[in-house]
Amino acid sequence: MKSEEARFILQAYRPNGADSSDPFFAEALAQADRDPELGAWFAREKAFDAAIAAKLRAVNPPLELQDNIMAGARAGLWHRRTWRLPVWLGVAAAIAALFFTLVRLRPAASVDVQQLTSFALSDATRPELHEGIVAGLADLETALADPKTHLAPGLNVTEDELRAKGCRDVQVAGRDVFEICFKRGDVFHLYIARTGEFKTQMGPGQPAFQKQGEMSSVTWIADRHIYVLVSDHGVEGLGSLL
């Protein structure tokens, strides 16, 4: 075996020694024992790998992740169990599902827009949710950051365009809501939903302001969308962006 071939094989040797009994590495390991130069290289490679592995394993998940997994999976387990019910219950479940589907297809939106605003006010206080790099939104974020841009007329973009650009997409009461972060001095969060998805008495040109703790929001309707703009900049600050 050539030295280069041995190196190629040994670079897949795990630094914790778990591969010591794997015959795949046997010949290359034996060669590293015989060849001082190869042996020195292998010692450096193992030391490098061990150092990198230790550094990377120091990364800890967010504290709430384990609880979130359990909560999400409990819902999954419940759904799975429902499919194990007797046939007659299965039929009943199918009828119920059809009923709920028909209800859902009714045109009237039953979820109040306040639910969207409340979600936005809460969501904007969690910075860990707003750190993703979204290269496709750079143009839009630049335009939003421009003091000359007024938001009252809306952004004139479709859901498909936002989705294609990689915009963050969340569900509020089962409705698609998009969110864009931008900076104009302070950080602002703009939430966008379709008007038909949420029930509201608001008309175009009637923004509704709200304050919750340190966060403020303004909700308005434009170009067939409901917009909720949130920041800790105060109500007056939000109004100046419209």
Binding site: R7, F8, I9, Q11, A12, R14, P15, N16, A18, D19, D22, F24, W41, R44, E45, A47, F48, D49, A51, I52, A53, K55, L56, R57, A58, V59, N60, P61, P62, L63, L65, Q66, N68, I69, M70, G72, A73, R74, A75, G76, L77, H79, R80, P127, E128, L129, H130, E131, G132, I133, V134, A135, G136, R163, A164, K165, G166, D169
Partner: protein
């Protein structure tokens, strides 16, 4: 699988799944989404796995598949420029540098490795999977794993060297509460 067994499975593997997801997605929110989605899929489908000793490989295979699906769906992951290959072999100063650098810097350097090389590298370093397990997880031949590990390590060393010299290829957002 009982709730207790599932809780144990989560406890044993969620940190590793998250780290692998973070290495793929390169941002914490997406990594959390991927991790949750993976265990959700286990809760709904994973019980069909007959050999529980394969659970770890199943979880990592699933998180990788979900990442590919997420990327295809949203094109949210930032593209990475090709790095200079830096095919030079590991030097003594590389080892010293790896020991001295903060975890965050090493993580950021890993994020700069091309995705095709980053995935096997993350499994190798983070979970210490064997070349066979990596091949199974990623669904690629063993020879491909070997090549990707080799090139991935070279890219990682190049990225670390660039950071040492004050450079960097792709900015990575600072993690909050995640990195030590």
């Amino acid at each position: 699988m009982s709730n207790e067994a599932f809780a144990r499975l989560v406890d044993d593997h969620y940190a590793g799944v998250f780290r692998f997801a973070l290495s793929l997605a390169r941002n914490q929110p997406d990594a959390c989404d991927l991790t949750q989605q993976t265990f959700y899929i286990w809760a709904t489908k994973g019980h069909g796995l007959r050999d529980i000793s394969k659970a770890k490989t199943w979880l990592f295979t699933t998180v990788y598949r979900e990442f590919l699906r997420m990327r295809k769906r949203s094109a949210r992951v930032t593209s990475v420029e090709d790095l200079p290959l830096g095919e030079r072999e590991v030097a003594a100063e590389d080892v010293d540098q790896a020991r001295r650098l903060d975890s965050e810097v090493v993580v950021q350097s890993l994020m700069e490795v091309e995705e095709t090389h980053r995935a096997p590298l993350a499994l190798f370093y983070l979970e210490e999977l064997s070349y066979l397990e990596i091949a199974e997880t990623l669904g690629v031949p063993v020879g491909t794993v070997m090549s990707r590990l080799s090139r991935g390590k070279a890219q990682l060393r190049a990225a670390m060297a660039a950071r040492k010299n004050g450079g960097g290829i792709v900015p990575f957002p600072a993690q909050k509460g995640g990195l030590k």
